[in-house]
């Protein structure tokens, strides 16, 4: 804060020659949240390109993109939520919940699978709403609120699945009416030349594009930055802080539904215990991509970079023939490096 008398700043009544000139292009680029992760993506790509020959083929590029997209799609709303100043630890299991709801509901009531898909949509967005409502009403940190819903959903997933099917997985839905059309939308592959690319890659790119326009070019995007940057200031100038935050949690729910549908229609059956731990991968992707944990700064393009780093590292270690046990170790290093870089960038940003 301006505690001191800063000679030179704000002195002259006459328009003095501007002391602060237009910042250089380099400095402005440095200020973009995703720039550090972009450098990381390039370095890691070059690294695996050199050490692992199978990594170089276009087919493996498609595999990497697919692995990245499954994390990256969820990282988009998780990044938005983080920019808005909140966390959602239930995001990983909410994906499983929505897949289970769709499968169990339509299979056991013998309905068209699309009905289950729609019910799952309502449930997933509803979970997001409850998370958001609890956070803004109780003012308990979202870390704790969503840790609670995380545990509750984890328990529900197991208990309800076992209660309905007598097993730990949902029944196979591949023979049900509506399956093929749903599978086309959520889990098909698109041939591009010699390789076939999973459709989630294209959905992912679409979601990044939509969210980027939303963040930078709409009124709601402005509100997202402001509620994460300083909720009290935002409220004082008339920003609907609570609605914005609840909306962000609902977007996480919406995407959990989408990714849940992808899992259901690519595997035909859903393991009730899966998804646990993925919430951290989403958060890691967002943080590596330049989102500040404290909110108010970040981008979804950055989260895509974070997801790409995740995808390249998981697949690259396999292509290089290394023990995949090392993967988490590398991910940890990436996270630490990204955090240090982000802190540095933020320091640059707040320096005159």
């Amino acid at each position: 804060m301006g505690q001191t008398v800063d000679a030179g700043v704000a002195t002259a009544p006459a328009p003095a020659p501007p002391r602060v000139t237009q910042r250089s292009l380099g400095r402005r680029l440095m200020m973009r949240p995703e720039i550090g992760s972009l450098v990381g993506v390039i370095l890691i790509y070059i690294f695996f390109f050199v050490v692992a020959s199978p990594f170089r083929s276009t087919a493996s590029l498609a595999t990497i993109l697919y692995a990245s997209s499954t994390i990256g799609m969820m990282a988009v709303p998780v990044a938005l939520l983080m920019i808005g100043g909140e966390f959602d630890l239930s995001a990983g299991v909410a994906v499983t919940t929505s897949a289970l709801v769709a499968a169990l509901f339509s299979y056991n009531l013998n309905l068209n699978i699309w009905i289950g898909v729609l019910v799952a949509l309502v449930v997933a967005v509803g979970i997001g709403f409850i998370n958001g409502y609890l956070v803004v009403r109780t003012r308990i940190p979202s870390f704790l609120v969503t840790l609670g819903t995380f545990l509750m959903l984890q328990g529900l997933n197991l208990a309800v699945t076992k209660g309905v099917t007598g097993a730990v997985a949902s029944q196979d839905v591949s023979q049900m009416t509506g399956f093929s059309s749903a599978a086309t939308i959520f889990a098909s592959s698109v041939p591009i030349g010699p390789v076939s690319v999973r459709i989630t890659v294209f959905w992912w790119i679409l979601f990044i594009a939509i969210s980027t326009v939303l963040l930078l070019k709409t009124r709601v995007g402005n509100w997202v930055f402001s509620v994460g940057g300083d909720a009290n200031s935002a409220r004082a100038v008339g920003v609907p802080v609570n609605k914005t935050k609840i909306g962000l949690f609902m977007v996480v729910g919406l995407m959990a539904w989408f990714v849940g549908m992808h899992i259901l229609f690519s595997f035909n059956t859903v393991q009730s215990g899966q998804g646990v731990g993925n919430e951290f991968l989403y958060i890691i992707a967002a943080v590596i991509g330049g989102c500040l944990l404290t909110g108010g700064f970040g981008s979804t393009i950055g989260s895509a970079m974070g997801a790409l780093i995740f995808g390249m590292t998981t697949e690259g270690i396999i292509y290089a023939g290394w023990n995949p046990d090392w993967f988490k170790f590398f991910l940890g290093i990436m996270l630490l490096l990204a955090t240090v870089l982000n802190a540095y960038v933020r320091q640059l940003a707040s320096r005159r």
Binding site: T218, A236, L292
Partner: protein
């Protein structure tokens, strides 16, 4: 209570408080407060820490509601339920620490909560070009020359941030400007700059309520002075009715200060 009745003047007060009181549980934060602000005038609210200054502005700006008395805007009894209500009536508040979101660019801060959008044919997207040029030219009008509207507002000095917030309120059509301790965290020169913009706002025809605990700053620009002490109005007078020395003495505790000075005499 030394609240006198004012002769009716030609100009209707934009905002008037009549015997306003506020309780937090069994704590009486304010009682029997009256003040007026007219267009083109600055009403200074003075008081020590805990005197009730913050509660008073929170009532006018819509963050809290009063329990007793009346709050009149344009002569109409109102009760705000949110800052948005107050803003819609043309009452804008610039908080000392809540003025801006530090990490956001200047132009986004300038239009926060009142973003300018393009027509439906352009999907109601933000009109960023307009907002950037307008925020720059509005700041230039107040004599703040900032070439880069994309720089985070946190990179500006405290005084400049206050000025951006004041310029924003004026541009967005505020008729009443409430300034919460705008000079509290600032050095001498920056305080001067901020006071200059406060005067500029008055000259632009706004009614200004300036909250401060600095009688020197208040006396430089004020037309009316309201002094709060422990939640009650201790003084309410026009500029012509009081000298700076008397205002300072009253502010510092009046007779209590004389007693203290006597005690400390060496």
């Amino acid at each position: 209570m030394a609240v006198e009745t004012k002769p009716v003047t030609a100009k209707e007060p934009l905002v008037e408080m009549r015997d306003v009181g506020k309780r937090y549980g069994n704590i009486r934060a304010l009682s029997g407060i009256s003040l007026r602000v007219r267009a083109g005038e600055i009403t200074c609210v003075l008081g020590d820490n805990g005197a009730g200054k913050s509660t008073l502005i929170k009532i006018i700006s819509g963050l809290h509601q009063h329990d007793e008395g009346e709050l009149l805007v344009d002569g109409e009894d109102v009760r705000f339920t949110s800052p948005r209500d107050a803003l819609n009536r043309g009452i804008a508040t610039v908080y000392q620490d809540l003025a801006v979101v530090a990490l956001m660019p200047i132009w986004r801060n300038f239009f926060l909560g009142s973003e300018v959008r393009q027509p439906i044919s352009r999907a109601r997207l933000l009109n960023t070009g307009f907002m950037k040029t307008t925020s720059r030219s509005e700041l230039l009008k107040m004599g703040i020359d900032l070439p880069d509207m994309d720089q985070p507002i946190g990179t500006l000095s405290g005084g400049q941030r206050q000025c951006v917030a004041i310029a924003r309120a004026i541009y967005l059509g505020a008729r009443v400007l409430i300034l919460d301790e705008p000079t509290a965290a600032l050095g001498v020169k920056q305080s001067g700059v901020v006071l200059k913009y406060v005067a500029a706002a008055r000259d632009a025809g706004l009614g200004v309520i300036l909250i401060t605990h600095n009688p020197h700053h208040a006396y430089m620009v004020g037309d009316h002075f309201v002094l709060l002490s422990r939640g009650e109005g201790k003084l309410d007078c026009k500029r012509a009715e009081i000298t700076l020395d008397e205002l300072t003495r009253q502010m510092a505790g009046g007779d209590e200060l004389s007693a203290l000075a006597h005690e400390l005499e060496r």
